[in-house]
Every structure is written in structure tokens, then in C-alpha cells.
């Protein structure tokens, strides 16, 4: 359903040009969880933002194709791209403490996305928002609470509810559990698995944690210096890493254990 071909993103900084994403190609199948593994600076987050065309100055998508259901997203005008964001492809961010607007209630933030994309009335949007909260196991009675009234784990659930409110086909999760405790992390992962089954969601899970990849993902691509160095099934890669960089990552994990 989503096919990325030869995608490249450059950052033009004072010191020169940085190839943050250098000719990346992969495919995401329906109902699949694809892991994107890499260390900080490997370009994995940039890749996530590029899929939604949210690369800001001084960065720029310089080449490739992002084909969603037969349409190349890179060729769409900005206003049509806006209709894709949140509706077909949604994103969850790393830091749940920063990804909710402190001055708006969580309800307002979920409702906003529903009204933007589905053109329904406020009352109906509110019901749908409550439903989205129920799906992530948050009491819908708290719809009028502000973000600071929630714990980190609950906030991340709210962010997920916000992302899934319009029933996107694809969810990009950029290290959604990195800022959370290990126990909360496990809760969020099992929630993602449940939601995937419930809504037939495809997920791109970006992380530096091989443990999570092994536990959650059907397939994984390993990124290093902006390029994909290895791709395959997580178990197989973990047991027999072919690329020297992947091998290093696996060794680190083994040492920790």
C-alpha cells in the first residue's frame, strides 16, 4: 500500500550539505508493523517526517517517490497533502510531554483533527473523540481535561487517540516510548498491537531499541548514515546480522543482557 522509492532528504547547513536520508527504498504492507532501526543521527526520524512531507528549512526532499495507494505524495499540492496528514497517515511523537498543546483540552485537540478531515458537526466529532479515547483506554469523561492533568503514559495514549481519531491507514510512531518508564512502555506497545488488529492499521515504528523491534515488528529495516543497510525479519537479523553495523547493534544488545 505504501511504497517508498529512492527517497532522499538533504539538509543545507552552513558547513555544507548533509544527506540525512540517502536514497531509501522500502515497502509497507497492509496490517504490517515495520520497524525502522538506527542510532541517533541515522536519519530515521527525518525519514518519518519526510513521509508526511514535514521537512522544514534548511531541509528539503530532493528526490524519490512516496507512493500511497498508487499516488505519489511528493507530487501533490500542499493543500491536498494536508488532507493526507492525519487522515491517511498519522504520526505519534517521541515526547508526550511536548506533543500536546498545553492551552487546549485533550478533547479540543482530538476534535480538531476529526472536524478538519471528516467535516462533521461539533457534537458528532465530540462523540467520535470520546470513542477514540475509549479505544486507547482513557475514561472519556476526562475529555475536557488539560494535558498537564495526565501522566506521561496517559498523555501518549491521548496522542495516539488523536492520531487514530480519523482512522488512518498508516501510523508513523517516532520513538513513542523512549520518554516513558519501562512498564508504561510495555503498556503502550501492547496497546499499539491491539489497535493494529482492531483497525487493520499499518505501523512504521521508528526506534533505536532492537528489543522493541524484536517484540513488536513483523519486519525491520536498519538505517545507518541515511541509508538502509539491512532489511528483513527481526529474528533472523538478530541471529545472523549480515551488515557490520547491524552486527554492532546486536552485539551491544547481547552485552547488555
Amino acid at each position: 500500500m505504501l511504497e517508498v522509492k529512492n527517497l532522499s532528504v538533504n539538509y543545507y547547513v552552513d558547513e555544507g550539505t548533509v544527506n540525512a536520508v540517502a536514497g531509501v527504498s522500502f515497502e509497507l504492507k497492509e496490517g504490517e508493523i515495520l520497524g525502522v532501526l538506527g542510532e541517533s543521527g541515522s536519519g530515521k526520524s527525518t525519514l518519518g517526517f519526510a513521509l508526511l512531507r514535514l521537512i522544514d528549512q534548511p531541509g528539503k526532499i530532493v528526490g524519490g517517490e512516496i507512493i500511497l495507494n498508487g499516488r505519489d505524495l511528493l507530487l501533490l499540492p500542499e493543500n491536498e497533502m494536508r488532507r493526507i496528514r492525519g487522515a491517511a497517515i498519522a504520526m505519534v511523537f517521541q515526547d508526550p510531554f511536548a506533543s500536546l498543546n498545553p492551552v487546549l483540552t485533550i478533547g479540543e485537540q482530538i476534535i480538531e483533527s476529526i472536524i478538519l478531515h471528516q467535516g462533521v458537526k461539533r457534537g458528532e466529532a465530540r462523540e467520535k473523540a470520546a470513542e477514540a479515547l475509549r479505544a486507547v483506554k482513557i475514561d472519556p469523561a476526562r475529555i475536557d481535561d488539560y494535558p498537564h492533568q495526565f501522566s506521561g503514559g496517559m498523555r501518549q495514549r491521548v496522542v495516539i487517540a488523536m492520531a487514530l481519531a480519523c482512522r488512518p491507514e498508516i501510523l508513523i510512531a517516532d520513538e513513542p516510548t523512549t520518554a516513558l518508564d519501562v512498564t508504561i512502555q510495555a503498556e503502550i506497545l501492547s496497546l499499539l498491537r491491539e489497535l493494529k488488529a482492531q483497525f487493520n492499521l499499518s505501523i512504521i515504528y521508528i526506534t533505536h531499541n532492537f528489543g522493541i523491534i524484536k517484540e513488536l515488528c513483523d519486519r525491520v529495516v536498519v538505517m545507518h548514515k541515511g541509508a538502509i543497510v539491512e532489511a528483513g525479519e527481526p529474528g533472523a537479523i538478530f541471529d545472523h546480522p549480515r551488515d557490520p553495523y547491524t552486527k554492532k547493534l546486536v552485539d551491544c544488545l547481547r552485552e547488555l543482557r
Partner: protein, 271 residues
């Protein structure tokens, strides 16, 4: 805020002045233009603040003058806030050449000695209070623009702005619904301080004869009227002078109070 005594003091004074201004027609003992005694008389029981050279009651003129001075202050600040916020928000949000263009305009406006600009504009137009309000507003938005731009540059980096873009919000929506409310603290501070500035400018303009025109009274032109009689009728200068000073000071107190409340040191509670 409640603990800040000077800010509370300022708030009470300003509240009092606004009430007095609104109630001027009810509480003023005389009509502001009424000649109620022969020449300038000292403060007395009939004329609490004395009378001016034409025999008009200074208390009544001060009350009506408060209406004018405070209205000019509020309207000028609203104009400056609208312009400054819009310019600063657009510059801070879009960055790049848009930012460069707008901020250079701000620099140019800043480089102009604004009092001369205002005088020049006022001498071309017929000086009346509406022109005064608009002209003061048009020449005092730059500080707000810089402030809002700075706030927007900061907020633009925050993840919730990225999140808003990721659910498909338009730029306008992000600017006004997601970012502006998060910048409101410093804008409110700028508004109170800006109002003090506007009232001072109005007084200066009226003092120079380019502002509110007689017989309408404002604190500034009451001061101007007093010039020639400083020695014989000092109350004519002291009363409006004190009013301007206490208003400006109160506004500064309020502004500082809000600024302190918003400073990170005292903001760790809640969010």
C-alpha cells in the same frame, strides 16, 4: 499576582480611574466647559481641584479628560497589538525572507524618531482624537512585533506545533489556534506597558497642540493650558501631571506584576 502588592495597587488605581472616567457625567460637579468662577481659583470646597484660567472646574475637566486619555490609550494599544502580533506571528512562523523583510521594516520604523513622525502626520491631517489614536497605534507596534516574533520562534520548535501540522492543520490555524494562545503572557505584559506609553504620547502630543483639541479636555492639553499660569495657579499643572504619572506608574506596576507571575521561576506549578 495576588501576592504582588505593587501590582495589586496598580490594578486598584487603574480600576478606580476607569470607573471615574465612565462615571464622569454622573459625578462631575460641573460640565467640563462650564465657566463656573471668575478666572483661576485655588482649590476650595466648591472646586476641589480649583479652576483654570477660564474659570472651568479642574476636577470636572480631569474626569472628562480621563475618558479621552484612557480611550486613546486603549484604542492605540489595541491597534498596536493587532498590527504587531500579526507582523510578529507571520515573521516568526514562516522565517526566511518573510521574516527578514518584516523585521527590516520594524527596524526602519524603530529608527524613525516616532514623535516627529507623529507630529508630521498630525500636521498634515486635521488633529482630532481619532487620528491621535490611529497614529499612536501605527507608530508603536514594532516592539510588540519583535516580542511576538521571538515567542513564535521559540514555540515553532515545540513538538505540539509539529503534531498540529501532522494532523493536517493549515498555517493560519496553527498560528492563531495553537501558537498565539501560548504567547499570550508576554503579549499581555506588552499591552499594559504599551498603554502607559500611548497615554504618555497622547499627553505629549496634546501638550504640543497636535493632539486632542480644545475645548475637549485631555490630561495632556490641561497641562498645556497650565503652562502660562504655573506660578499663579500651580494646581492647574499639578492635578493632570499627577494623574498622568499615577496612571503610567500603575500600568507599569501591573505589567511588571504579570511579567513576574509568568517568569519560569514562579511558573513550575501546573504545567
Amino acid at each position: 499576582m495576588k501576592k504582588n502588592k505593587t501590582a495589586m495597587f496598580g490594578l486598584i488605581i487603574m480600576g478606580l480611574f476607569f470607573c471615574l472616567a465612565v462615571l464622569a457625567p454622573v459625578i462631575a460637579p460641573y460640565s467640563p466647559d462650564e465657566i463656573s468662577s471668575a478666572g483661576a481659583n485655588q482649590p476650595s470646597l466648591q472646586h476641589l481641584f480649583g479652576t483654570d484660567d477660564l474659570g472651568r472646574d479642574v476636577l470636572s475637566r480631569s474626569l472628562y479628560g480621563a475618558q479621552i486619555s484612557l480611550t486613546v490609550g486603549v484604542v492605540a494599544v489595541v491597534i498596536a497589538l493587532l498590527l504587531g502580533t500579526l507582523a510578529g506571528a507571520v515573521a516568526g512562523y514562516y522565517g526566511g525572507w518573510v521574516d527578514g523583510l518584516i523585521m527590516r521594516m520594524v527596524d526602519v520604523m524603530f529608527a524613525f524618531p516616532s514623535i516627529f513622525l507623529i507630529l508630521a502626520i498630525q500636521s498634515m491631517l486635521t488633529p482630532n482624537i481619532y487620528n491621535v489614536m490611529v497614529v499612536i497605534g501605527l507608530t508603536s507596534w514594532m516592539g510588540v512585533a519583535r516580542l511576538v516574533r521571538g515567542e513564535f520562534l521559540r514555540i515553532r520548535q515545540l513538538q505540539y506545533v509539529e503534531a498540529a501540522r501532522a494532523i493536517g492543520c493549515s498555517d493560519l490555524r496553527i498560528i492563531f489556534r495553537h501558537m498565539l494562545p501560548n504567547a499570550q503572557g508576554p503579549i499581555i505584559v506588552a499591552a499594559t506597558l504599551g498603554m502607559a506609553g500611548a497615554i504618555l504620547t497622547e499627553s505629549a502630543l496634546s501638550f504640543l497642540g497636535m493632539g486632542v483639541q480644545p475645548p475637549m479636555s485631555s490630561w495632556g492639553n490641561m497641562l498645556m493650558d497650565s503652562q502660562a499660569y504655573m506660578r499663579d495657579a500651580p494646581w492647574m499643572a499639578i492635578i493632570p501631571g499627577l494623574l498622568i504619572m499615577s496612571t503610567v506608574l500603575s500600568l507599569y506596576f501591573i505589567g511588571e506584576g504579570i511579567r513576574e507571575t509568568l517568569s519560569p521561576k514562579e511558573r513550575n506549578a501546573g504545567s
